[in-house]
């Protein structure tokens, strides 16, 4: 019974629904239209971010720098697009060009991570930890620690308009889902995560595939930055500073293994929903920021324990 439950793919999805129903009597506001819109608006970029993390975790890597990449992308986009001093200011192409520029930032950072991990064989934890530090430093330096306002309305709509934001997020998450399930690259990502030595011998281009995972993670982080920045209508060097925990937590709670080889976009979706629901309901219950952080920490620990237990059971079975 326990094993069946632990092994169930949609365990977390059921947990989300159950906790939603269980919390409703205490916080009737949870189901209000305004709250649900808010919940979705903040859930979407986190989903995109977590999808990138899922791709990397599947290869048995980790991307700690995703949130810093987001901050740099946000700031670079803001500097280019803002109506006061931006060099794209006033141009009708400001929004699309700004978005492309932001995505390019993500690709460059991702490529840096990927090259260090795949070609130089450095440990992913160290590489992305340093990129994280350097990235957040760079974002603050670029803006002299100031927030950038006055972004083009067309750009702000991408993140602020629920339907538009939902379309972008669904397209990207759906793309990641198809990539993992239906393409060569997806299967190779899993193979590397399971056993990189074996994958190499079996003709998988391990270096290129690992590189691709980090580039995609960077790209998705930049896409998340587009949504977050548009939502806030400001570019901030502190964007996503507190999100790293949420991203990793959501992915791991969903069931993606920190040991590699296991993970699905649908699981990640459930994990993201769980984390956001937890966040939102604790907020509505008037918990302080610190309480929320502590509770989330405990939940992440529980998720990691679940992952380890799952593995132990699998091994005992074999």
């Amino acid at each position: 019974m326990l094993r069946r439950a632990l092994d169930s793919e949609y365990l977390v999805l059921w947990l989300v629904l159950a906790s939603f129903v269980a919390l409703l009597p205490f916080t009737p506001d949870l189901a209000s239209r305004q709250n649900l819109v808010n919940l979705l608006l903040t859930l979407l970029p986190l989903l995109i971010l977590a999808c990138g993390q899922t791709l990397v975790l599947i290869t048995a890597g980790i991307d700690l720098s995703a949130c810093s990449i987001m901050a740099v992308a946000s700031v670079v986009g803001g500097l280019a697009m803002n109506g006061d001093t931006g060099w794209l200011a006033g141009s009708p192409w400001a929004a699309p060009a700004g978005v492309l520029l932001m995505l390019a930032v993500g690709v460059v950072f991702g490529a840096f991570n990927g090259l260090a991990v795949a070609v130089l064989r450095m440990p992913p934890f160290m590489v992305t930890l340093t990129t994280m530090m350097a990235g957040s430093g760079l974002a603050i330096w670029l803006t002299r620690s100031e927030t950038i306002y006055n972004l083009p309305p067309a750009f702000n709509a991408l993140g602020g308009h629920l339907a538009l934001a939902a379309m972008i997020a669904v397209a990207l998450a759906g793309g990641a889902h198809l990539l993992l399930n239906r393409t060569l690259l997806g299967r190779w990502l899993y193979a590397i995560g399971h056993n990189a030595r074996m994958a190499h011998i079996s003709g998988v281009p391990v270096t290129g595939v690992t590189l691709a995972a980090y580039v995609l993670s960077g790209l998705l982080a930049a896409a998340a930055a587009v949504l977050y920045t548009g939502q806030a209508e400001t570019a901030s060097p502190l964007l996503g500073q507190r999100l790293l925990l949420d991203v990793i937590a959501a992915t791991v709670i969903g069931g993606t293994s920190l040991f590699g080889g296991r993970g699905k976009v649908l699981w990640t979706l459930a994990g993201v929903a769980f984390i956001k629901l937890l966040d939102n309901s604790l907020n509505l219950l008037n918990c302080s920021f610190f309480t929320i952080t502590m509770v989330k920490g405990a939940v992440v620990l529980a998720a990691a324990l679940l992952d380890a237990t799952r593995r132990r059971l699998l091994e005992a079975e074999a």
């Binding site: 690259l185 193979a191 399971h194 079996s202 003709g203 074999a318």
Partner: protein
């Protein structure tokens, strides 16, 4: 004289396959027992039972007159049994002294401070004993392989054991170090220490032992004072007569005249990598099963890894179907039609947690993907998986989605073989394809090997089991210390000659 150690009717099976059959043997106090046998004859299993790593299915050990069943290595060590292993079990990042006394560092009373001076003094004493001139503080990683072996011996001696087991102690020693080691052994013997000496170098065994015991297929086939044996007799005993194990026969063998060799597929010339292989040249023909025999450490697996592009080589050329291969890499080898079934299927062959279908499909995945988008043709993939499952006769009860680790060893190996057969390779490099699997699965794998060869592929078959090579191959190459030393056609297959070449015995038999 009384027996320090007795094995009484020891029997041990792995997955139903007997590896030790009713072994009864005594080691008298103060004598040296030489233990010989082919790879897989059961020497290591016997020593693992003595060391507490394995338990016998039936039979018992008598140690110093009392029944003895060590629950683990620590208990065996406490009883006074020390091992010097062939593989080095040292921590390279620690110093010699720390390696020697890791579990019993001299401390200041109960405080966690180490008495460094005493540690160094004690270490120096044991290093003097083995004749190694090195400071106790030297990190082990700075020592040569031979020096490390001496450190291992010093560690064993520092336990002040009553019995030391040496398992191939001289393989990594230079000639000078070997001579020193032999002097050390005679000193230990003079002091009355009981020893078991395991080696493939029969001359050394005869020189150093008082008693000799020969194992074959898990049974004790010869045993007595050293003076009753010579190298030729030992080899005859080790090889024995043909086993009743079945091997499939190839149609081509039934013909009166041997078939002319097919076109050359893989031509290897002067392949050299210092310290690993030297001037290896051979040709693998289409339709041929070519055996490669050698003792452990002869360089067989290393050669295969080079041919597939996993390890570099310094000199030499490799031609595939006449085309010279410049830089060899696994994915390129694969595209050229070379498959490599590795020795270690858990580490190199399978993604154990992934499904049977995913494992089978991995090598040929690219063929089912759209050229530019990588979009997979799942239906085509499923068809291929189904076909290969039938071809290798994988157990029909396992679902495609089941993790590979839920399969038996034989079925796991069929998955590895299947994933390579899907690629329809022209050249198959098979490294120990039947290791650790049951007899039925072995026979099926033998049939698959012959079927591929009949279809025109060339198979290079590496095995430690001489019987297997003799049963399956058209030709056998013998490797010793990184060199090819002999080549035999099927008509000339001769167990003694092959084993002698692999062992390098200057015997008159």
């Amino acid at each position: 004289m009384s027996a320090l150690l007795q094995f009484e009717g020891i029997t041990k099976r792995f997955a139903g396959v007997p590896v030790l059959r009713d072994v009864t043997l005594a080691v008298e106090t103060g004598t040296t027992l030489g233990l010989v046998g082919e790879n897989g004859a059961g020497k290591s299993t016997l020593m693992n039972i003595l060391g507490g790593n394995l338990r016998p299915d039936t039979g018992r050990l008598i140690w110093d007159g009392r029944p003895f069943a060590p629950a683990g290595p620590a208990e065996a060590a406490a009883a006074g049994i020390a091992f010097v292993h062939q593989e080095l079990n040292l921590f390279p990042n620690l110093s010699i002294a720390e390696n020697l006394f890791l579990t019993r560092l001299p401390r200041r009373g109960r405080l966690p401070w180490i008495r460094r001076r005493e540690l160094a003094a004690q270490t120096r004493r044991w290093l003097r004993e083995v004749g190694l001139e090195a400071a106790p503080e030297t990190p082990v990683e700075r020592l040569s392989a031979g020096e490390r072996q001496l450190v291992e011996i010093a560690r064993a001696l520092s336990l002040e054991p009553r019995l030391i087991i040496f398992d191939e102690p001289t393989t990594s020693l230079s000639d000078r170090e070997t001579r020193q080691f032999f002097e050390l052994m005679s000193r230990l013997r003079a002091r009355g220490l009981t020893m078991i000496y395991i080696s493939h170098t029969l001359e050394d065994v005869l020189r150093l032992s008082d008693l000799v015991a020969v194992l074959r297929d898990g049974a004790l086939v010869g045993h007595g004072p050293r003076t009753d044996f010579d190298a030729a007799r030992l080899i005859t005993l080790m090889v024995g007569r043909s086993l009743n194990q079945l091997y499939p026969s190839r149609a081509s063998w039934a013909q009166p005249a041997p078939a002319p060799p097919g076109t050359p597929l893989l031509e290897v010339r002067d392949l050299t990598q210092p310290g690993v292989v030297r001037d290896v040249s051979f040709t693998l023909h289409a339709g041929e099963v070519l055996g490669l025999f050698g003792l452990m450490g002869a360089g067989r697996s290393e050669l295969a890894r080079m041919l597939f592009g996993l390890d570099p080589f310094a000199r030499g050329t490799v031609r595939l179907a006449g085309q010279p291969l410049r830089s060899i890499k696994p994915d390129r080898s694969l595209r050229c039609g070379v498959a490599f079934l590795t020795e270690d299927r858990r580490e190199d062959g399978l993604a154990l947690e992934a499904s049977i279908a995913d494992n089978l499909a991995l090598v040929t995945l690219r063929r089912h993907a759209h050229r530019s988008t990588g979009w997979l043709d799942l239906a085509g993939l499923a068809d291929a998986v189904r076909a290969v499952r039938a071809a290798v006769r994988l157990t029909p009860t396992a679902r495609d989605e089941a993790p590979v680790q839920t399969l038996s060893g034989g079925n796991q190996q069929k998955v590895v073989l299947g994933k390579w057969l899907l690629a329809d390779p022209r050249v198959l490099l098979l490294d120990e394809p039947t290791r650790g699997i049951d007899v039925g699965a072995k026979f099926e794998i033998y049939q698959l090997i012959h079927k591929r060869a009949d279809a025109g592929a060339g198979v290079l078959l590496i095995s430690s089991e001489l019987e297997e090579l003799i049963g399956l191959c058209d030709r056998i190459l013998v490797m010793r210390r990184g060199e090819l030393v002999d080549e035999l056609r099927r008509a000339d297959f001769d167990r003694e000659r092959i084993l002698r070449a692999a062992l390098h015995e200057r015997s008159t038999a």
